[in-house]
């Protein structure tokens, strides 16, 4: 038991994998998503395969395969397509981008985010279903709690809070204060499972968030503002995903201006390792 606890404490990705797999199982069992395991297998398998390829090519440590698992699971929760090749393309782009689009030794885009955008924009045959989670209270609690556990361990709770706080405030101002809808309309919008999943499991990726805390908070608020404007002005769906993609492209600039420590997934056995 002790080794199990130690195992989880060593690497926050272990939590991520467990929770994301749990959400997927919940989606299929309770929310009645299409239980087409082939789709999940393709996404997951392609992520692992491409990661393995780069690991052996670049002689990287094998524990980084866990990142590919997180990306694969995250994409399984969000990306939909009829054709398998579209899913494979999305997954391949996601992982390959980590190794190919790098500035100052750090990858620029959130892999899952870029993979989803690539599949949707390049093929026109993939889509994201923001409504698939519904707005169940229990779910909100679960995603929130699980997400907090992970981001607290990773140390990126500032990202989640800044994004969700800014987005919720803007939406409240628009829906309730300006338009005059009842607060429950706003609550219904904010309890959307997809939004929460994004808040706690996507923008918190420590490898692609700005290194310095101040920059990170500003960056999260920028995503929130852009997501809000896209939704309000242009009626775009799944706006946080597009906002993250756009704002991510300035992360390297933020990192150059505001310096901070690079993130490492493993809690080292000894501090010098």
């Amino acid at each position: 038991m002790r080794s199990l606890i130690a195992f989880f404490q060593r690497d926050a990705r272990h939590f991520q994998i467990i929770f994301l797999a749990g959400f997927l199982a919940y989606g299929i069992a309770v929310l009645q998503w299409d239980a087409e395991w082939q789709r999940y297998l393709i996404l997951f398998g392609t992520c692992l395969a491409v990661q393995a390829l780069f690991i052996s090519w670049k002689k990287l440590p094998w524990h980084s395969i866990k990142s590919a698992m997180v990306t694969g699971l995250g994409m399984s929760l969000l990306l939909k397509a009829d054709s398998m090749w579209v899913l494979a393309l999305g997954a391949a782009v996601a992982i390959a981008s980590k190794f190919l689009i790098r500035i100052d030794g750090k990858h620029v885009f959130n892999p899952g985010n870029l993979g989803i955008a690539a599949a949707v924009l390049l093929t026109g045959q993939a889509w994201v279903s923001p409504g698939q989670w519904g707005s169940g209270a229990a779910l909100v609690f679960l995603v929130g709690a699980a997400g907090c556990m992970v981001v607290l361990r990773v140390g990126r709770i500032d990202t989640s809070l800044a994004f969700l706080g800014a987005f919720a405030a803007l939406d409240f101002a628009r829906q309730v204060l300006y338009l005059g809808w009842e607060p429950e309309v706003w609550l219904h919008r904010m309890s959307n499972g997809s939004l929460l999943l994004f808040t706690f499991f996507m923008i918190t990726d420590p490898m692609t968030t700005p290194k310095a805390q101040g920059a990170r908070i500003g960056w999260s608020i920028a995503i929130a503002v852009l997501a809000f404007v896209l939704g309000w002005k242009y009626w775009v769906n799944a706006t946080p995903i597009w906002a993250l993609l756009i704002v991510s492209s300035i992360t390297p600039v933020l990192d150059r201006i505001w310096k901070g420590q690079s993130f490492r997934w493993l809690v080292p056995a000894n501090p010098t390792a």
Partner: protein, 477 residues
């Protein structure tokens, strides 16, 4: 032995081969009270919305207020024939199909019968001045005024919800006193109001007894249905059937879950006579189970005129003609361009649906239909050993059908135990002795927890492997 495959059908819909079931009954939209039917066509930024109402009162009391994103021109408004709805409804409604078991003792004979069945192809919608004057004082502007068919139509814009509400009430539009609460957000969202009353003279001149559906078209980013206004005066639930057409694929709801209605279930033969009530109860139960806040998918199919694949299995009615799709607003269909048909059914009430319905067009072309399967037992002598084994299987199958019926509708199936037990009467004593358990085997529905369990196990195994990996890594480090 049964000669067809039912489960796995939803998964295999793309490559569905010929099935020998044929349509016998449908659960059409008329089953549901307080229902409205909508045809929603989305083509790029263009929306064509056709509204049909089951208005039952005096036509002079009829009033319709629909928030719209733009000031509609005369050409943007049409009256269409009700039969377009009827044709679509008949085609896409949940359906009951029949299959026949072959007699294992006469296998060769059945093959011939099957051919003849297959050949039976499936066969089967004065006051103008006063208005304007009072409008000015209330911040209401009459942007346009048209008479289309039997309807008098006004396009209003407003600056103030109380004024709009008062104006509507003064001018004979029966809207609830609390409506301003809902009108306010629409006004501030810069929406206009499409307001309709019946022109009694035109109605009597047209020779129609009933009000025909109204069709409007506009260009807008917004792809939504404003359901909140309709709920202002109602605490109860209302049903809405949405027949949606796009060029690319399914329409789904963005701010509520879109869930498939249970389909491909084997149910007892006696449901044939009560298919309407069966589907009604099934829907009510599914609605409750999903938390009363979901949109249900009842049908999704590629209906492109030139599409060579199967259009439905089985078809409930003759496929609508390209002309009917064009009347519905999918005008590109007549040129043979890709057309995808989605039928959504939503039962909404104020407490569970705080937001208007927002939709998106997806490239999802997976076919779906709500179908329920009746299987007739084999006919003739079943005294051979295969025949007796068949009867045993039939007995268990009927138990499963009863349990399925109970699970789907909540109907009490105890009184129908004879449905299964009568099969025993045809079994010989030896076969009866062979049967292990006298009463049914537990029901196991399709789509059980198989996949989630697999995922959980896979995640567990992966973590164990990772544990080993990362240990080694740390040691190396």
């Amino acid at each position: 032995m049964r000669h067809f495959l039912i489960p796995a059908l939803a998964l295999l819909a793309h490559q569905a081969s010929a099935f020998c079931g044929f349509y016998i009954a449908k659960a059409d939209a008329t089953l549901f009270n307080d229902r409205s039917e909508i045809i929603l066509v989305r083509d790029g930024q263009r929306t064509i919305l056709t509204m049909s109402n089951d208005f039952k009162g005096d036509v002079k009391d009829f009033a319709l207020v629909v928030p719209v994103p733009t000031i509609l021109q005369r050409d943007d408004i049409k009256v269409v024939e009700r039969r377009v709805f009827d044709a679509l409804d008949a085609y896409s409604a949940p359906r009951l199909v029949e299959y026949y078991d072959e007699n294992p003792c006469q296998r060769w004979k059945y093959a011939e019968m099957l051919d003849s069945d297959a050949n039976e192809a499936p066969s089967a919608t004065s006051t103008m001045k006063r208005e304007a004057k009072s409008a000015k004082g209330k911040g209401v502007t009459i942007e346009a005024r048209y008479t289309v068919g039997e309807y008098d139509i006004l396009i209003l814009s407003a600056t103030e919800s109380m004024g709009l509400k008062d104006w509507l009430i003064e001018n004979g539009y029966r809207i609830p006193q609390t409506a301003h609460e809902v009108l306010d957000p629409y006004i501030k969202s810069n929406l206009k109001f499409f307001v309709v009353k019946v022109n009694l003279q035109q109605l009597s001149a047209s020779g129609f007894n009933t009000l025909r559906p109204i069709q409007i078209r506009f260009e807008s980013h917004k792809f939504m249905l404003p359901i909140r206004l309709g709920m202002a005066n109602s605490n109860g639930s209302q049903d809405m059937i949405v027949h949606a057409f796009t060029r690319t694929g399914r329409v789904e709801c963005v701010n509520y879950r879109t869930v498939k209605v249970p389909t491909d279930r084997n149910i007892p033969l006696f449901v044939k006579e009560r298919f309407g009530p069966f589907y009604k109860d099934l829907f009510a139960r599914a609605h409750r189970r999903e938390g009363r806040n979901t949109v249900f998918l009842e049908y999704a199919w590629n209906v492109t005129p030139s599409f060579n694949g199967m259009k439905c299995d089985p078809c409930v009615g003759p496929p609508p003609m390209p002309r009917e799709f064009a009347q519905a607003g999918a005008d590109w269909s007549q040129q043979g361009a890709p057309t995808f048909y989605t039928r959504l059914h939503v039962r909404y009430a104020r407490d569970q649906f705080p937001q208007d319905l927002v939709f998106q067009v997806t490239p999802n072309t997976e076919h779906f239909q709500a179908r329920y399967v009746l299987t007739h037992p084999a006919q003739g002598e079943l005294t051979c050993s295969e025949g007796q084994d068949y009867l045993e299987e039939l007995y268990y199958r009927r138990h499963r059908e009863l349990e399925e019926l109970n699970a789907l509708t909540g109907w009490n199936v105890e009184k129908h135990r004879d449905y299964a037990n009568e099969v025993k009467g045809r079994m010989n004593p030896e076969q009866l002795r062979k049967m292990e358990t006298p009463l049914g085997i537990p029901f196991k529905g399709p789509g059980g927890p198989g996949a989630p369990l697999m995922i959980a196990i896979a995640a567990g195994v992966a973590l164990l492997l990772l544990n080993l990996f990362s240990r080694r890594q740390l040691q190396v480090a």
